[in-house]
């Protein structure tokens, strides 16, 4: 195994394009476990942490661009970003322990392509965009376009995720992320729900994005769940309708972490609780704006 730590996007792309069986190293909290277990035996590991663009959090067109290798701890310490996108940040902060937070990144969490990745449903709900660098230059795609199946991504050879873009927020929008795990920490999500809600002047929901994790081969947007909230004030009945839509969209598997029945049922519950939190946050913003 060879180790390289390029300092520019271009040289990283060059290495990845030429290297056979190359793997990208960001925080390494998934890759090193896979290396140790012999699940992957790459010829080349490309550490992207020395590329400036992967390590910065910058304001861009009113939104935030977050480098793919920015650690959860760094994200959590960014008070402004946390205030604007609390759901995304709380999702990233749920990835593993304090120790994992010191290394784990959104880019890595996304590209590891686990159906249960905590940050992904939150990013999808936030309509985040993903900037990808490759031999043909850079392209930008919606986060939900990245994962195609467990451990599978749409990235072409030589491509890697440089940064993620969280768009500008309206005055009455807010997001939230909740997950269910058996313990209070250190578990993989059995169900995860990312929610983004926008209210109109009268406090009625004008737009809602609900995304679920760990209930299908990839994290997924559930338009029917969002639609169930639009035009409502998220009363109990509306939330129940949303929960039903969320549960209906689940295509989970039975595994050591949960049964199909359990995941379907709890997906609705967790989505409902996440919606309630996002709604409260949106109302508070509306009051303050």
């Amino acid at each position: 195994m060879r180790y390289e730590s390029p300092e520019s996007i271009e040289s990283a792309v060059a290495l990845l394009a030429n290297g056979v069986g190359a793997r990208i190293l960001a925080g390494g909290t998934d890759l090193l476990v896979q290396l140790r277990a012999g699940l992957v035996e790459p010829e080349l590991v490309v550490d992207i942490k020395n590329i400036r663009e992967t390590r910065e959090i910058t304001v861009e067109n009113g939104g935030y661009r977050v480098g793919a290798a920015v650690s959860g701890a760094e994200l959590g310490e960014h008070a402004e970003l946390k205030q604007v996108w609390p759901g995304v940040v709380e999702a990233v902060e749920l990835i593993g322990s304090t120790q994992i937070q010191g290394r784990a990144s959104m880019g890595g969490n996304l590209c590891n392509a686990s159906p249960a990745a905590d940050s992904v449903p939150a990013l999808i709900a936030a309509a985040a965009l993903c900037t990808i660098a490759g031999p043909e230059g850079q392209r930008e795609v919606a986060v939900e376009e990245i994962c195609t199946g467990p451990g599978q991504t749409s990235l072409a050879k030589g491509e890697f995720v440089v940064s993620l873009f969280l768009p500008e927020r309206g005055p009455r929008s807010a997001d939230a992320y909740l997950r269910f795990i058996p313990r209070t920490e250190m578990d993989i999500a059995v169900v995860g729900a990312g929610v983004d809600i926008t209210l109109d002047e009268s406090g009625v929901c004008s737009a809602a994005r609900v995304a679920l994790g760990a209930v299908a081969p990839t994290a997924m947007l559930v338009p029917e769940a969002g639609a169930a909230l639009v035009g409502t004030r998220l009363e109990d009945a509306d939330l129940q309708a949303m929960a039903a839509a969320a549960s209906a969209a689940c295509k989970p598997i039975d595994d050591k972490r949960g049964t199909v029945e359990y995941r379907v049922k709890v997906a609705g519950v967790i989505a409902r609780r996440a919606c309630a939190i996002a709604f409260e946050r949106a109302l508070e913003r509306a009051r303050n704006n």
């Binding site: 195994m1 060879r2 180790y3 730590s5 190293l25 390494g28 909290t29 090193l32 476990v33 290396l35 140790r36 277990a37 590991v45 550490d47 942490k49 650690s71 701890a73 593993g96 322990s97 304090t98 120790q99 994992i100 010191g102 290394r103 209070t184 920490e185 250190m186």
Partner: protein, 160 residues
Amino acid sequence: MSKTKLHVATTINGDSIEFLCEPQQTLLDVLRDELHLTGSKEGCASGDCGACSVILDGRLVCACLVLAVETNGHNVETIEGLADGDDLHPLQQKFLEHSALQCGICTPGILIAAKALLDIDPDPTETRVRYWLAGNLCRCTGYDKIVRAVLDAAAEMRAN
């Protein structure tokens, strides 16, 4: 696998340390097997137990989830550097006074994790301590005396 070893220059507990390592060796492998700093323990090698907790450039990390080569030019703090000469760190002193260890295998990792917490939060709540330490498994104590020792150390450090 590449047989050419990589040269790494790093700072460990304030000392400039240079070592050669293979690219796939973790920081924990090098700390223990090459430098014989065995205070950092391997309980799982997958980041689930925290027994290998070290501080890398001020961030708490699991040494088993860091490639040794990644520490080139960086600063590592391990349990061996926690005491100031003969003077124990207040956390170490409180762990002794509260009998916050039984077998002691998780103790170095927990002390390092607790230090990282008190470095950024001198007055943590019990809940903060418990969630901060959730990545440090202890099978002996039930955590009670550990949490008390950390809170007590924080109080003493605030007083001084």
